[in-house]
């Protein structure tokens, strides 16, 4: 399949954002583990794995469109030194990702690439879920206080 104009470029930008997010979440998950927040460790690691699956899908799709996936490039990884900081930088990363995906969806509609559009829409749905989760955590901290919130993160759910 030959790609429509501009599509590969957009896919590579999303891929870069994804690869950056994988590493950021990976380190955040590990830091939470190191601090003893087992629940957060698992939640954040899951997010990292989600991004990895997206990266895999993007690379596959770029190749399918006869493009060259760029796995060399990375944006700035933003590491938070505390749990609230981590939530803040992760939220920013997810919001930037959503903007990229929305632009991608709009562009694909314009050039009539509905397969790519469909894929990006699926990814945008995941990002929405991530944003929702992070915002909930921030809201919780606001309501119950950081210490109460953190003490609930020591045990894993279920």
């Amino acid at each position: 399949m030959k790609a429509k104009e501009g599509v590969i470029n957009i896919l590579n930008k999303i891929l870069t954002a994804d690869l950056t997010a994988i590493n950021q979440y990976f380190v955040h998950a590990k830091m939470c583990e190191n601090w003893g927040y087992d629940r957060l460790h698992h939640k954040v690691r899951e997010r990292s794995i989600d991004e990895m699956k997206d990266a895999d899908e993007l690379i596959g799709h770029i190749l399918y469109l006869d493009g060259v996936p760029n796995v060399q490039r990375m944006n700035t990884v933003q590491i938070g030194e505390t749990v609230p900081e981590q939530l803040k930088t992760d939220l920013k990363t997810e919001q930037e990702m959503l903007t990229l995906l929305s632009e991608g969806v709009a562009h694909c509609t314009k050039v009539g690439d509905f397969t790519t559009r469909h894929m990006l829409e699926d990814m945008a749905k995941d990002v929405d879920t991530h944003i929702d989760w992070i915002e909930t955590q921030q809201e919780l901290i606001e309501q119950v206080g950081l210490e109460n919130y953190l003490s609930e993160q020591i045990h894993k759910e279920g």
Binding site: V27, I59, V71, Q72
Partner: protein, 156 residues
């Protein structure tokens, strides 16, 4: 835990190399998938999973030692036009990895950090297995010919 001298710097290098390997295999798995080599696609995926586990362990250990893992840096990721290109690039990377791990193990022994040494020793076992796997593939290609080899990679 406070790290012994030089240990964190070596672990940072290991993180960069292992991350580079993850990106290598992520790309190479997809390329093989795109070319229709299902068996190789799965092999590369497994390699990627192993390298991800390594990254996870090393980052965890760096944090335990009070260090700050650098996940921003990445070595050169090679692509390729053929399966052999991929194998050659991967073999080179794994050989670099083995060399780095061996140096790090020797250093840990010198400064008596046996926990880190133990971790690295486990990793070097995997890396040597990877080197062996790539060498085997390249040797098989030399013996049976590229077309026969590739024909066997279509099905898992």
């Amino acid at each position: 835990m406070k790290a012994k001298e030089g240990v964190l710097d070596l672990l940072y290098k290991v993180v960069t190399l292992e991350l580079t390997a993850v990106h290598h295999y992520l790309l190479h798995a997809s390329l093989c998938d795109n070319w229709g080599y299902e068996r190789l696609h799965h092999e590369f995926h497994e390699h990627m999973t192993e390298e991800t586990t390594h990254v996870s362990k090393v980052i965890g250990h760096v944090l335990y030692l009070g260090g700050r893992p650098d996940v921003q840096k990445l070595g050169a990721v090679s692509s390729g036009q053929s399966v052999q290109d991929l194998f050659n690039a991967d073999l080179k990377l794994e050989q670099e990895d083995v060399t780095l791990l061996r140096d790090a193990i020797a250093h840990c022994a010198k400064v008596s950090d046996f926990t880190t040494r133990h971790l690295l020793e486990e990793m070097v076992v995997d890396s040597e297995e990877h080197v062996n796997w790539f060498e085997t593939q390249l040797r098989t290609i030399a013996q049976v010919g590229l077309e026969n080899y590739l024909g066997e990679q279509i099905k898992k």
